[in-house]
């Protein structure tokens, strides 16, 4: 998967803070210890721990974790705002760690721009000059950089506010300025460091939609750091879930939700409304009888929620078709099994047809949610392998992840 279609390629990356930090990654006696033990032994704090992944061109790669999990450090390592302690890091195949300061500045000026949690706007400058700041650093002439800044400001929906100062803007507006500043340089990659954590929930949603829209329109590669699972699931093509500096699971939102790699992840995704994330294809079974001829037609990546709606409306299983070819059908039992967090084949097949018209299974959801999914296949899978286990649903194109994932 490395090579030209990955923007960032990260291998065995470490970031250790503290005295003589460099000795930690190379010492197998230390690397065998937990982060807390290493701190006790050496006084060093391991922020990023032997992390490997690729960011593919055009995708939104989300790094998710609780505070202190090392995600913000990790994203700063990508442009060496924080110098990694050990490991390999390439951007477009070029070794970032080998760059001299001038080349590194070049990278930061033109290839990767970052949006920060606390905006980092210059308080003494207007919106216009804040957005043009990156271009100013590049040495672009005043007239030109202002013209370009104006375009970007319009793009992020701040037209008319060019002459305001940051302290005259709301938090959301300030972050739009931060976003515009990053976009103004027209970088290959946008890095987001918890950009919306400091915003009110409603504004946060707006901003998320804004980012989603931008991504749709421009297809720019994005690396997105967040501690908010909903945000990660909403925006991410793939999600790397971090804990104590290491990636515990890397996969599509669906994989994360349906096949948590360990108890930690499972706990994390427990409250996620699966029907919003999981595609109907996960609940699909072959059509039986006349099922192939009736019922609403859904795309394979339609969500389970849409499937539920269709089945409830029609009273019969819905059909899944791709390019006019019937892939299978979903019925209420299998849909409910997904909602309940059960593996599809755990659903009760005693009477496949009996369910018609009887959609409600009282208590099912609560049970499903509260139980730790029992001895499901995923739960038993060894850590780290979960994400690489091929999906049993043939229709999902994405989701397989052959990247080496370390946990």
């Amino acid at each position: 998967m490395d090579g030209h279609d990955s923007v960032f390629s990260v291998r065995g990356l470490w970031k250790v803070f503290g005295p003589k930090a460099a000795r930690v990654p190379g010492d197998p006696r230390l690397t065998a210890l937990t982060t807390a033990e290493i701190r006790e032994r050496t006084g060093c704090t391991v922020a990023v721990r032997d992390v490997s992944f690729d960011v593919r061109r055009g995708e939104v790669f989300v790094v998710m974790g609780l505070s202190g999990s090392g995600k913000s450090t990790l994203v700063r390592c990508l442009t060496r705002l924080i110098e990694p302690t050990a490991g390999e890091l390439a951007m477009d195949g070029e070794d970032v760690l080998a760059m001299d300061p001038a080349r590194l500045r070049e990278l930061r000026r033109h290839r990767a721009a970052m949006v920060f949690q606390h905006f980092g706007l210059l308080p003494h400058r207007t919106v216009l000059d804040n957005v043009a700041y990156g271009l100013e650093i590049q040495g672009v002439a005043k007239g030109e950089r202002r013209a370009r800044a104006r375009e970007v400001i319009a793009k992020v929906g701040l037209a008319g506010l060019e002459d305001r100062r940051p302290n005259q803007l709301s938090g959301g507006q300030q972050q739009r300025v931060g976003l515009a500043r990053a976009l103004a340089a027209d970088p290959e990659v946008l890095l987001f460091d918890e950009p919306f954590s400091a915003l009110d929930p409603l504004i946060r949603r707006d901003m998320q939609e804004e980012v989603a829209r931008l991504h749709q329109e421009e297809g720019r590669t994005m690396v997105f750091i967040t501690h908010d699972l909903a945000e990660a699931l909403k925006l991410g093509d793939r999600i790397a879930l971090m804990r104590d500096g290491a990636i515990v699971q890397l996969g599509t939102p669906e994989e994360i939700v349906t096949r948590p790699a360990d108890d930690y992840v499972r706990d994390f995704v427990r409250d996620v409304p699966r029907e919003q994330i999981v595609p109907v294809s996960r609940a699909m079974r072959p059509a039986i009888g006349d099922e192939a001829d009736r019922g609403t037609v859904l795309a394979p990546d339609a969500t389970v929620a849409e499937g539920v709606a269709a089945v409830a409306r029609d009273g019969v299983p819905a059909r899944i078709e791709a390019d006019g070819v019937l892939l299978g059908v979903v019925d209420h039992t299998r849909l409910l099994a997904v909602v309940a967090g059960l593996a599809p084949d755990e659903a009760n097949y005693a009477d496949p047809d009996a369910g018609t018209g009887a959609l409600a299974i009282p208590g099912m959801r609560e049970d499903g949610v509260d139980t730790d999914a029992g001895p499901g296949a995923d739960a038993d899978a060894p850590k780290g392998k979960a994400a690489t286990t091929p999906m049993d649903a043939p229709a999902t194109g994405q989701g397989t992840d052959t990247d080496p994932v370390t946990a």
């Binding site: 930061r108 000026r109 033109h110 920060f116 210059l122 650093i137 100062r165 500043r181 340089a185």
Partner: protein
Amino acid sequence: MSTVTTSRPIVDGERPPGHTDAPGRRRTRRLVRPSTPMVLLALALLLPTAALLGGGGWPQALRVDLVPALDSFADWVVDNRETHPVFLYFLLHLSNAATDSVAWVHDLLTAAGWAGVLTAATALAWYAGGAGRRGAGPALIALGSLAGCGFLGLWEQATETLALMLVSVVVAVVLGLLLGLAGGLSDTAQRILRPVLDTMQVLPSFAYLLPLVLIFGIGTPSALITTVIYAMPPMVRMTTLGLRGADPAVLEASRSLGSTSWQRLWTARLPMARPQLLLGLNQTIMMALSMVVIASVVGAGGLGESVYQALKTRDFGQGLTAGLAIVLIAVWLDRTTAAAGARGGVPVGRRGTGLVLVAAGGGLLAGSSAGGEWPEAVTVDIAAPLNTVVDWLVGNLYQDVPVLGGTSVWAGNFTSWVLNPLNNGLQALPWWSLLLLAAAVALLVGTWRGASTAVLALSCIGVLGIWDKALYTLSQVLVAVALTLLLGFAIGILAARVRTVERLLRPVFDAMQTLPQFIYLIPVVQLFNAGRVAAITAAAVYALPAVVRVTTQGLKQVSPAALEVSRSLGATTWQQIRDVQWPLARPALLVAANQGVVLVLAVVVIGGLVGGGALGFDVVKGLTAGELGTGLIAGAGIVCLGLALDKLTQPAGRPALTHHSH
């Protein structure tokens, strides 16, 4: 003078008081708690024993007499300063540049005429305030203050003072910026600068007056350089502070966009440090103004000379008038710079700028044609009524006040019952026990490093052969500090709780801090007789405003939530003060104590002028009677005493204070 108000305390701590970083504070406590009683016990046993065992005094064998060497160096300078290349090719140019630039600014001000200066200053103040409605306040103050100088009949003197001020402020700001940049950007530079600035803060300005006069003689260059040395530290501190305090998020954002460090300095660090830079400028101006009288001792004319001359004829009223003019200039410059700071970098519109330029230009034209001198008809004499008031006060308070006794009686009793015993006690203690005591106290309050500095500084005093004199001075300093803190804390607590008190005190203290101390020396002597009590009173009067201010600020910074909790639990006022405000404000109060020490030391030399004797007197004598060696060593003694006392009152975990001193 809003900024003067906060100004001193703010420069005074690189961090606002009360924000001592937690680990530091914890460290101090851990260190203090187990050892305090033991150390105190040990001292309680040790000191009386020591006093009984051995006569005090620093052993003769450990002394080095530098006076002859310094005196012969002075002779050498006098004999060679007209021929030696160092003087001819370096110092002469410096001296000429100083004289020329001050003369040029003065010529410019004279040529602009009073009307020109008035309009220009008013327009500038308006511009600083944003050239809109908000600029009206500063503009009116500028107009009123300067016109006030004219009304007092001191226009000519004011322009002389202003000329020296402007040049020295420009030089101090430029140098301060450069040093501040170094300190702000490089940790090494900061490590070097910090102790230098710390020393400068306890360095009495009289001490460097001496070598300057030796090299440059009496006149503008000495006055200018003295003022620059004195006024520069706050600029350095505030620049460093501003650069170091830059929002890291902004700097990181700038870095993430690929900026070079130069670009970050110009586009982010410096613009964001603007408030601190302006505060530094404000401080520098105020410090320079407080040097006006001292500068006149070495030949700067202007208002300082008026004060000095008035005092010679014991014309208190005239002295106060000249002092008032200095205060007026301070108010004007303070408000203008404060307005510029409050504007927060919002640029002034083109129309405002144009208006300002037109107004200033027109004023200058009109002024230069109208002539430089303020019309004598438009002056008022406030000296005579002031004199009457003071004479009445002094006449009635000196003695024979029923029951209370009168100031001369108090002074006498105070000397007999407090000063003499304390001084005798200190003199009776063997030198080594005092070193031990200093080390112990410094350790309790601060760090090992502070303790060793304190011991070293005290040893220096002994080696220089001025141990006895230093103790004589020390006894006065201790009493003055105690008095200042007692009064300062009491007033500070009152001001923190009663807003009216604070509002009433504020202008009084502002004026007190800007008014040259020389002015109140005469009534102090008349009330308390020349001697140590007069010196102590002068010192306490000088140090009190800052102590009150820091105390008030510290108490007011105590989190309202904590206070609310204690109120909700039904605590009495006294309980609130004792259980909540006091402990929470303790760091700030330590700052206040330290401030008191440094300020009191700053006026030890002034105390020498009213009979304080010892080190302060020697410095004065060195300067006025040409006994350079004696003066320099006494100056060094004051510095050592200052360093030691500073360390004894400087808690650990707090960055060194940045006060000012004389």
